[in-house]
């Protein structure tokens, strides 16, 4: 009866295999005459990872234990003092809180809107190419340009959003009022990320066989229930991938947007942790403190990613 049960479990791939400590099972063993040749092929990739990830990370970790002279005249070992200073500061905790809120809002809204647009665009038959291009084209805009456009849209004197808010009695003061600025930052960041999610969700939707959708059409009358129980679960691999990408985006890649929108504004504007790392290190010249903060951020992201793989990926079905 169970002709498959004697087979070994399907080898797991990537990180999944690594963190559960299973041995790696190569799909195919290739023999090279020269043992160094594979390494040669791997070199460019390894070099890039080393130069742009491991080396700076090691630098950051070592700097975080020193109090460095801003002009490079030596450094004093201070142990964990930089970490203590960061975590002990009320300002740091406030920014950490805002970062969490910002990441949550940006991720939820950009995933939600991306999915909504994808589902709607998937249904359109006439002129679908036009709609898709229109939705995707925003992704071609560079983050600083998006930030600049956001700044214009929310400008105190010429910004149409400020005028619009005014009609509803909202005296919007982006760059002065903390929450107004936060609102603008979230809006621009979401706007920038929606097309990316849209592309992935749309291709995910098109990967679902037409007959499975039709079977669901016969099995379930209610469109929303049908979407939730049949379609969305088939999109789970895409959604899981996008969740990780979007959290990373909100944490790190929104830097340029924030930089353009709050740089020349008065203090007390909402910023995220990565922006604080930058401003403390390069504006405040506190290299050690900034390095400690970036190490904290790295650890947080590492934990977050592991938790996602451990708890969420189990529920994801790869077709």
């Amino acid at each position: 009866m169970t002709e498959l049960s004697h087979l070994p479990a399907t080898p797991r791939t990537g990180l999944r295999r690594w963190y559960r400590g299973r041995p790696a099972l190569p799909a195919k063993r290739v023999q090279f005459d020269q043992p160094l040749l594979p390494w040669l092929f791997l070199m460019p990739q390894l070099a890039v990872i080393f130069v742009f990830f491991y080396w700076p990370s090691a630098q950051a970790i070592s700097s975080s234990f020193y109090l460095e002279d801003p002009f490079g005249f030596g450094a004093t070992f201070v142990g964990l003092e930089n970490y203590g200073a960061a975590l002990g500061s009320g300002e740091y905790r406030k920014i950490a809180g805002f970062t969490a809120l910002f990441t949550l809002l940006v991720t939820v809204f950009s995933l939600g809107l991306g999915l909504l647009f994808a589902v709607k665009a998937d249904k359109i038959i006439r002129g679908r190419a036009t709609y898709r291009t229109a939705l995707i084209s925003v992704y071609a805009i560079a983050p600083p340009v998006a930030g600049l456009m956001g700044m214009m849209l929310f400008d105190q004197h010429i910004g149409p959003f400020v005028t619009l808010a005014g009609w509803f009695g909202w005296n919007m003061q982006v760059g002065i009022d903390y929450w107004d600025t936060a609102f603008a930052l979230v809006l621009v960041s979401v706007w920038k990320q929606v097309p990316y999610n849209f592309i992935f969700f749309l291709s995910g939707l098109q990967g679902i066989p037409a007959s499975v959708r039709e079977a669901a059409l016969i099995d379930c009358r209610n469109g929303l229930t049908r979407f939730r129980t049949a379609i969305l679960l088939l999109l789970a691999p895409t959604a899981f991938f996008l969740l990780i990408i979007n959290i990373t985006y909100a944490l790190f890649d929104t830097f340029a947007v924030i930089d353009v929108m709050v740089k020349d504004k008065p203090a007390n504007n909402p910023i995220t942790l990565v922006y604080k790392v930058y401003s403390d290190g390069f504006r405040g010249n506190d290299i050690g403190g900034s390095a400690a903060q970036s190490v904290i951020l790295m650890v947080v992201v590492l934990i977050l990613t592991l938790v996602q793989f451990r708890w969420l990926e189990r529920r994801v079905h790869y077709g």
Partner: protein
């Protein structure tokens, strides 16, 4: 369970020059097994999908039972469909796949449990209930797809080429299983296939479609023995019916220089002469036949050659000796005559035909 009434049904896709399905009139009795058969592009799937509600109806009406369903949602038509590529939900187990449609219809849990168990027993799926579809073989997947239809206890089953993705051996056994299941449940069924053998073996009544129109409706053997047109004659039956260019002149049917039969008719001129491969036999005199090649099928052999410059196939028992030049006789009453231009069957009273060359 219910009858299905299809009246003047037509379908024209937007932007298409002509209709894909036109003037379909079909009355399906309660419990009947109807097979729609035809070459690809003949509109058989479109017709089935219109009954299912997956395709809009351009014109005409479909009644399931007493209800006009033209504008009824597919989920409310009380039908269940089995798809060619199974269309199982990959993220659900076999049990969940079968229960899904019932759960969405607010069927009580105990009832769902009982129906799934019954279907699993009937289809021998019990050992696989907690597996995901990807851990099943093609035949098992198709059984799950059928189980999903069975548990619904619908008014009608719709099958869209359900066996096309299976290998030849499995196809034959699944064919038997579908037939047995349908007989046992007595559910009205509409089955689409391009395989004429599948069509012949499954159907209570066959509907042969060509170019979006019904070419002939009838019991499989009626269609086999009295095809309404050259299209049906060449489509139903393997090997295909031999179709030869012949002529009626002065009450005599001639194939080239050979006289085949005397026919009491006033008709004159060219006709298409149809002869089934098994209605031909070797004789001492008759149609002069030149052998080309032989296909051995084991129980019988297909002998290909020419008569009067026209290709002809006959089916013979393997123990009959064959030579390069032979004479053939036609079984009495086995001549089919078709209009050369329209391809329609010319009906002639049996008694008015007189065979010239009887079998030896």
């Amino acid at each position: 369970m219910a009858s299905i009434q299809i009246t003047n049904l037509s379908k024209t896709y937007p932007g298409a020059s002509g209709p894909s399905v036109a003037d379909i009139n079909l009355s399906i009795r309660d419990g009947e097994f109807i097979v729609l058969v035809g070459p690809s592009g003949c509109g058989k799937s479109t017709l089935l999908r219109m009954v299912a509600g997956l395709e809009d109806i351009t014109g005409g009406e479909i009644h399931i039972g007493d209800r006009l369903v033209n504008r009824v949602d597919p989920a409310d038509r009380d039908i269940a469909m089995v798809f060619q590529n199974y269309a199982l939900y990959p993220h659900m187990t076999v049990r969940e796949n079968m229960a899904y449609g019932l759960k969405n219809r607010k069927t009580p849990a105990a009832e769902i449990e009982a129906r799934v168990a019954e279907a699993a027993r009937m289809l021998e799926l019990r050992p696989y209930l907690d597996r995901k579809p990807r851990a099943l073989s093609g035949g098992q997947r198709q059984r799950v797809a059928m189980g999903r239809a069975v548990v619904r206890q619908p008014a009608a089953f719709l099958f869209d080429e359900p066996l096309s993705n299976l290998d030849a051996k499995l196809r034959v056994s699944m064919r038997g299983e579908i037939r047995r299941l349908q007989k046992r449940l007595g559910t009205t069924s509409l089955y689409v296939t391009h395989d004429q053998l599948e069509a012949m073996t499954l159907a209570d009544r066959l509907v042969v479609l060509n170019g979006g129109r019904i070419e002939q409706i009838g019991a499989p053997l009626d269609i086999y023995h009295r095809p309404a047109s050259t299209f049906v004659a060449s489509f139903i039956g393997a090997p295909a019916m031999n179709l030869l260019d012949a002529e009626i002149a002065g009450g005599t049917l001639r194939l080239g220089t050979v006289e085949i039969a005397r026919i009491a008719t006033a008709a004159q001129g060219p006709v298409s002469l149809g002869i089934r491969a098994e209605d031909l036999s070797i004789a001492t005199q008759g149609l002069p036949f030149r052998l080309d090649f032989i296909e051995e099928l084991g129980a019988q052999r297909l002998v290909h050659g020419h008569v009067e410059g026209q290709p002809l196939t006959l089916s013979l028992s393997p123990d009959i000796a064959i030579s390069d030049q032979m004479h053939l006789a036609i079984r009495p009453g086995a001549l089919h005559l078709f209009d050369t231009n329209t391809g329609k069957r010319l009906s002639l009273p049996e008694s008015e035909r007189q065979q010239i060359h009887a079998p030896a």
